[in-house]
């Protein structure tokens, strides 16, 4: 890695950016929509309750799955772009 320290740094920054963005969504759906912002979503009805309840019991779990697969897919692309992937 010594000869490519500039690229290595860029690779790590790209990873951190991706993680940061993912964790914002992670926090928004669970701590945001499902808990703290639930009163704001109370006006959106869904099957006998409101959208906040849906996020608390289903929506956040579905979002978590999408986040992990998106991260894995993007990171594998970034690995290849910077040539740090495994053969």
């Amino acid at each position: 890695m010594a000869g490519h320290s500039y690229d290595a740094e860029k690779y790590w920054k790209a990873n951190l950016r991706l993680i940061f963005g993912s964790l914002i969504i992670w926090a928004l759906v669970s701590y945001g929509f499902a808990i703290l912002l639930r009163p704001l979503l109370a006006g959106i009805p869904i099957g006998g309750t409101d959208l906040g309840f849906w996020f608390a019991q289903q929506g956040s779990i579905l979002t978590f799955i999408a986040l992990i697969f998106h991260y894995a897919w993007r990171m594998n692309k970034i690995d290849e772009k910077f040539g740090v992937h495994e053969e």
């Binding site: 006998g48 019991q57 978590f64 690995d79």
Partner: protein, 588 residues
């Protein structure tokens, strides 16, 4: 065929399958034993993680907790799944690249300190042993109910089965057995849920059924449930809560604790490549979500079914007579998990929430107190019987509950035995031990751990719920921050990491002990464990997240006033960040 024979058939058949797999996948080397040879496919691994993670708590208890608490207990759903996002992005790929066998090994190498490794071993053993006790106790309960044997005998059968496949097979045996156990447990969980969802809403998919229309009343099922339970003095099922800070911190503690629990982390050491570690986390969550998306539907539908069983003509009419109670109530009364006392001596079962606000209504109806106490842990196990499902579904639930308890027990036992044989014996006491000797030590320590866990499972210390909180608190406040800082910071050094782990751990333990009693000894609590006494309304169950913050803060401050880690450690941190070369690393 009698119900007993059906149960024997399902449970016995599934056990034969697990043991057969263990013999087929017998471990030959330490690498086979600890990380299944490092060659497990991500989807297979995801399924094994699913079985490993979903314990008796997820399978048996969680739906009951949600049924009782409604929206307020959604923390369990989000907390026990959201941790996988943290694992996938913050820990798993880098620890896989590091390429060693255990969690304390990483902490010891990264913080170039045997003491750090020792602190990690202690945290790991305390967190894992407390967890195993719960699994063994859960297996005992399921056995005694379904095989109609004594709880102690049930426990001993469970211990023998775990012993055979965990001790012989190691991680290799456990991984493939857990794949089979996942299939058994998810089938067992979803089939009754599908039937019940069809009965109540006509929708075969329980997660959609939860938001569908209740056939009998024509109302959305959640509205119907709210109406029935508020008629009986309970809180609305979907009601929002006031103490949001506590809900946020509780959810966060469960998430961080999930990511920090060692038996889940070591699972990511078993895949061939760093990229596979990322995919594994995704697949694990898919398999876990199949159960976690079904659970809230099971919770609300079972609660509604229970209420309509007791009040068949609606809440305005009188409840059923005790003598006309269904067979399942009779069966569970034998175990003591359902209790009835006819307080107003009218021969009927009055089930309601006897609070001061509801008192005038209860008096007007001649009710003198709630008469039926239902242990919430039986909800999932009794669910098929409540809904009048055929006998084979009940046999399936028995096999599923046992699969959940045994797969988690095996994973935890492996984490404990590798900490003892690899980190304690090879790492500290006798570094010159041969591979054969290490394998023998691993098997002996696993056997000892099973005996201890079985003994404690038969004589549970009586504080199961607190102990689970402790396990999560420890993992969240000690292991997770140390692992994360080890990867994301080059500046955190040995002194900082040890100070951080110890202060996070101490802070969390003290807060729990102040409310729950020192070492959980009854009568030694300094303050009553009620919301009015909690600091800022933070419950002892939620304190792990704050402990983690304390750990991070102390580690950064101490590291910044002491010297930088040596160059070779900074290079180690650099190397775990880049996937290339993980293949070589695993053959250390």
């Amino acid at each position: 065929m009698s119900q007993f024979a059906i149960n024997i058939l399902f449970v016995g058949g599934s056990f034969l399958l697990y043991i057969g797999i263990a013999i087929w996948a017998k471990a030959g080397s330490t690498k086979d034993f600890y990380v299944a040879g490092g060659g497990v496919h991500p989807v297979t691994n995801g399924m094994a993680i699913g079985a490993d993670w979903m314990s008796a708590a997820s399978f048996i208890s969680m739906a009951g907790l949600i049924a009782a608490g409604g929206y307020a207990n959604s923390s369990f759903l989000m907390g026990w799944t959201g941790g996988y996002v943290l694992l996938a992005m913050l820990l798993a790929p880098y620890l896989r690249k590091f390429g060693k066998f255990t969690v304390p090994e990483f902490i010891g190498d990264r913080f170039y300190s045997k003491n750090a490794r020792l602190v990690a071993v202690i945290c790991l053993i305390v967190a894992s042993v407390t967890y195993v006790i719960g699994q063994m106790a859960g297996a005992g309960v399921a056995f005694s109910r379904f095989l109609e044997v004594d709880a102690t005998l049930g426990l001993i059968i469970a211990a023998i089965v775990v012993f055979v496949y965990a001790v012989l097979g190691g991680m290799k045996g456990i991984t493939y057995t857990q794949v089979a156990q996942y299939c058994v447990l998810i089938t067992a969980y979803t089939i009754p849920a599908v039937f019940i969802s069809l009965q109540l809403t006509g929708n075969p998919l329980p997660p959609l059924g939860l938001f569908s229309t209740h056939i009998d009343s024509g109302m959305p099922i959640l509205d119907k449930l709210n109406q029935v339970i508020t008629d009986l003095g309970f809180n609305e099922y979907t009601a929002d809560i006031d103490n949001k800070l506590n809900m946020v911190l509780f959810t966060l503690s469960l998430m961080i604790g999930t990511a920090g629990l060692p038996h889940v982390i070591i699972r990511f050491f078993t895949v061939p490549k760093v990229a596979d570690a990322r995919w594994s986390a995704g697949w694990a969550l898919v398999f876990i979500a199949l159960l976690y998306l079904t659970a809230p539907a099971v919770a609300s539908m079972a609660r509604l079914n229970l209420m309509t069983t007791i009040y068949p003509d609606g809440t305005a009419a009188e409840p059923i007579e005790y003598d006309a109670r269904p067979a399942w109530i009779r069966d569970w009364e034998v175990t003591g998990l359902i209790q009835f006392s006819d307080k107003n001596e009218d021969g009927r079962i009055q089930l309601y929430n006897d609070t001061a606000e509801f008192e005038p209504q209860a008096q007007a109806r001649g009710w003198e107190g709630n008469e039926l106490v239902v242990n919430r842990d039986i909800l999932v196990l009794a669910n098929p019987e409540i809904a009048n499902l055929p006998g084979w579904v009940i046999g399936l639930i028995a096999a599923g509950g046992l699969a959940a308890a045994l797969s988690t027990a095996a994973g935890l036992l492996l984490a404990i035995s590798s900490a003892v044989s690899h980190d304690l014996i090879k790492g500290s006491i006798n570094p010159a031990i041969s591979e054969k000797g290490e394998l023998l030590a691993a098997r002996i320590s696993m056997a000892v751990a099973i005996v201890v866990a079985t003994y404690l499972g038969a004589n549970p210390p009586g504080f199961a719920a607190q102990v689970v909180a402790l396990a999560f608190g420890i993992a969240a406040a000690s292991l997770f921050p140390a692992l994360m800082m080890g990867i994301f910071s080059k500046r955190v050094n040995n002194t900082g990491a040890i100070a951080g782990m110890l202060s996070g751990l101490t802070f969390t333990l003290v807060y729990i002990f102040v409310y729950k009693g020192w070492l959980f000894i009854p009568g030694t609590a300094n303050l009553p464990d009620t919301p009015e006494n909690w600091v800022l309304g933070i419950s002892p169950l939620s304190i792990g997240a704050v402990g983690a913050v304390v750990n991070f803060a102390v580690a950064f401050v101490v590291s910044n006033v002491t010297e930088e880690p040596p160059v070779e450690i900074q290079e180690l941190v650099e190397s775990v960040r880049y996937p290339r070369g993980a293949g070589q690393a695993q053959d250390h």
